[in-house]
């Protein structure tokens, strides 16, 4: 049997592990081309196949032979004819597939060669930087992870001008990552080695706001969510007061692009979440759920990751109608489980619920995607038969946000929430809002509150709570029988309720 345990200088291989094909192909290229990797280099232009092999060999050489990495890089510069595209794609492959197994010296080399690729503006460098950012683990305060975080924040500061000129949007990604990480880094106490990282993170983020505010705004509405978690940090309070608060209403209108939600989800986590929500049947999901928990969520510092996962599930994983109609685990079930996990910690629970409903608050049916609000809607509906307290607590939470969440934006929120509720009915995510409005399992004051909220749009959108006609209804309801059970036969007259509503200031704000 071939013994590959100690032949790789790139990764740590454990006993009983299949050989990694990427590592193998790099190592084989390095071994077979070794004579050509030393000066004097050939002046001949290599054949296309040899060009690729040389790139692989050089990647392996740079990462595994720190002492001759300068030579390898020189060789690369002399050789390259594709704007470093293939070389960079190999580095991305290594970060995505092998990073956790890399030996320490290879990680150091990886950062060095990344800087080198920034200097030459390699094709794909933006993706390489993003893949590195995704490698900073949440709630992991081990030396390796703190080191990576520190290296990357330093890299963005060091290469600021170059990045700003060539790929400004990668700075927006960095801002998102480090704002999010800072919130965690402030939450954890007694980790001395974080102090320096925090200082650098603040420096980078503040620089971004002060010098390139427009780039920060590109994050969209999640920027405000991030800043809220940092409101206790004086630097960010100032930024909030000076810059952000006056732009809030514009920022809320901009839906955050899915690229940002990926930043705090590692590739492994993404693979497993996509598998859970694309291949595992509801009912036989328990072991997968347990493995996911064990791998990613154990430990008190990991709890904040739930916020990122909920945003990711709502805003990035949008299952096809085929999957929705199948027995595959739906998103609302995963989110119900995640909410269960954070019940012990009220602060986290609140943040997770806010993450779940955040797009509801600013929902605009012309710009927002119904799939971002669908999980919360279905979780509320499907919980009614067996877990009405969950429906109650979610509905209470979201209605309470109207009064408590940033009072200066109350009008926007009333409008957003109303649109979201209307849209989930109109698009057939739920059959009818009656399922909430007339359900005996829900407290009367809550139903009244919801009816009052919905009345805000009354003049503009004719309400017919009884109407069930929607084209895609069946796509969302895998078992209509259950749903029928949930909805009651008693129909309040919505119009009466609406007339009862008090004069609402938001009414005057709603555009036609």
């Amino acid at each position: 049997m071939e013994n590959h345990f100690d032949t790789s200088k790139l990764i740590r291989v454990s006993l009983h592990e299949v050989e990694n094909q990427l590592e193998l192909s790099l190592r084989q290229a390095f071994e077979s081309l070794q004579p050509k990797l030393r000066p004097p280099f050939s002046l001949e232009i290599p054949e296309p196949q040899e060009y690729l092999e040389l790139n692989k060999a050089i990647v392996y050489g740079v990462l595994c032979e720190p002492s001759s990495s300068k030579t390898h890089i020189k060789h690369l510069h002399a050789l390259v004819t594709d704007g470093y595209a293939f070389f960079t794609s190999l580095l991305i492959g290594i970060v995505v597939e092998l990073y956790v197994k890399l030996v320490d010296s290879a990680k150091i080399q990886l950062i060095c060669v990344t800087k080198e690729m920034i200097d030459v503006s390699s094709v794909g460098i933006e993706d390489l930087l993003v893949s590195l950012l995704r490698r900073i683990g949440s709630g992991d305060y081990g030396d390796q992870n703190v080191w990576l975080c520190s290296e990357l924040v330093s890299l963005f500061l060091e290469k600021w001008d170059c990045l700003l000129e060539d790929m400004p949007l990668v700075l927006t990604s960095a801002l998102y990552s480090f704002l999010r990480l800072l919130a965690d880094h402030y939450r954890v106490l007694g980790v001395a080695k974080l102090e320096n990282v925090k200082r650098l993170e603040i420096k980078l983020c503040v620089k971004m706001f002060r010098e390139q505010f427009h780039l920060g705004l590109k994050i969209g509405r999640d920027l405000i969510l991030l800043l809220q978690d940092l409101s206790h940090v004086s630097e960010f309070r100032e930024i909030w007061n000076d810059l952000v608060s006056s732009h809030c209403s514009d920022i809320y209108q901009l839906k955050t692009s899915s690229r940002y939600f990926l930043l705090r989800i590692t590739p492994e986590m993404e693979t497993q979440l996509r598998f859970l929500l694309g291949n595992v049947k509801l009912g036989s999901h328990k072991r997968h759920q347990m493995w996911f928990l064990k791998k990613f969520l154990l430990g008190p510092e990991k709890e904040t990751l739930l916020i990122d996962i909920v945003r990711f599930v709502c805003c990035v994983i949008h299952p096809t109608n085929e999957i929705i109609r199948s027995e595959i685990m739906p998103r609302w079930a995963i989110i119900g489980w995640l909410l269960e996990l954070c019940r012990q910690n009220h602060h986290i629970e609140r943040s997770v619920k806010l993450a779940l409903f955040y797009d509801w608050l600013f929902f605009n049916e012309r710009m927002d995607n119904i799939m971002n609000v669908e999980p919360a809607a279905l979780l509320m509906v499907w919980s009614i038969p067996q877990y009405p307290h969950i429906t109650h607590s979610l509905l209470e939470f979201v209605l309470h946000l109207v009064e408590t969440y940033e009072i200066t934006s109350r009008d926007i929120i009333v409008r957003g929430l109303t649109s979201a509720f209307r849209e989930i009915e109109r698009k057939g995510v739920i059959r009818s809002l009656d399922i909430f409005l007339t359900n005996p399992a829900l407290a009367p004051d809550l139903k009244k509150k919801l009816a009052n909220l919905l009345s805000c749009h009354h003049e503009k959108v004719p309400v017919n709570l009884h109407q069930l006609s929607v084209p895609s209804k069946q796509t969302f309801l895998s078992s209509e029988a259950n749903l029928k059970e949930c909805s009651t036969k008693i129909f309040d007259t919505p119009d009466q309720k609406l007339d009862n509503s008090v004069e609402n200031p938001a009414k005057h704000e709603i555009p036609g």
């Binding site: 454990s14 009983h16 299949v18 693979t271 497993q272 291949n279 036989s284 072991r287 791998k295």
Partner: protein, 138 residues
């Protein structure tokens, strides 16, 4: 040839190539300290596997394992188990991404010699739909 678990038949031959995900592992190794029993499965069936020596620590629940030249046969005290044996090997090839079933469990099936070909075994009955050692999660 890569087999699905449902197509594996007991035989005294080291020729089974398959891949499965480990669902559960007995906490402490058996009395002799050298092997332990685990539950594995793929999309078609489940099976008890026997891990030997350092395999016991190398694999965890959730690991996807490639078995080359394995054997499925009776082992004293452990019943009908799939294992690498001296000539085969088990290697971890991934984690998590197998959608599996826990029934039927081919270790919980009564196998008898085929009357037409006594060298082969055929299914003659189901002892238990699910593993009796590792019952499904509630």
């Amino acid at each position: 040839m890569q087999l699905f678990l449902k197509d594996i038949v007991p035989a005294a031959q080291n020729n089974i190539n398959t891949r499965f995900i480990i669902l559960d592992k007995a906490k402490s190794p058996a009395a002799n300290g050298k092997n332990c029993i685990a539950l594995a499965a793929d999309e078609t069936a489940a099976v008890h596997i026997q891990l030997w020596g350092d395999e016991c620590d190398a694999f965890e629940a959730g690991d996807i394992v490639k078995l080359t030249n394995g054997i499925f046969s009776y082992v004293r005290n452990n019943g009908l188990v799939l294992r690498a044996g001296k000539r085969g090997k088990m290697e971890k090839m991934g984690e998590f991404t197998v959608a599996f079933v826990e029934t039927p469990n081919i270790s919980e099936i009564q196998w008898n010699p085929d009357p037409e070909n006594p060298k082969r075994y055929i299914q003659s009955g189901v002892v238990s739909a699910y593993s009796r050692i590792f019952p499904p999660l509630p």
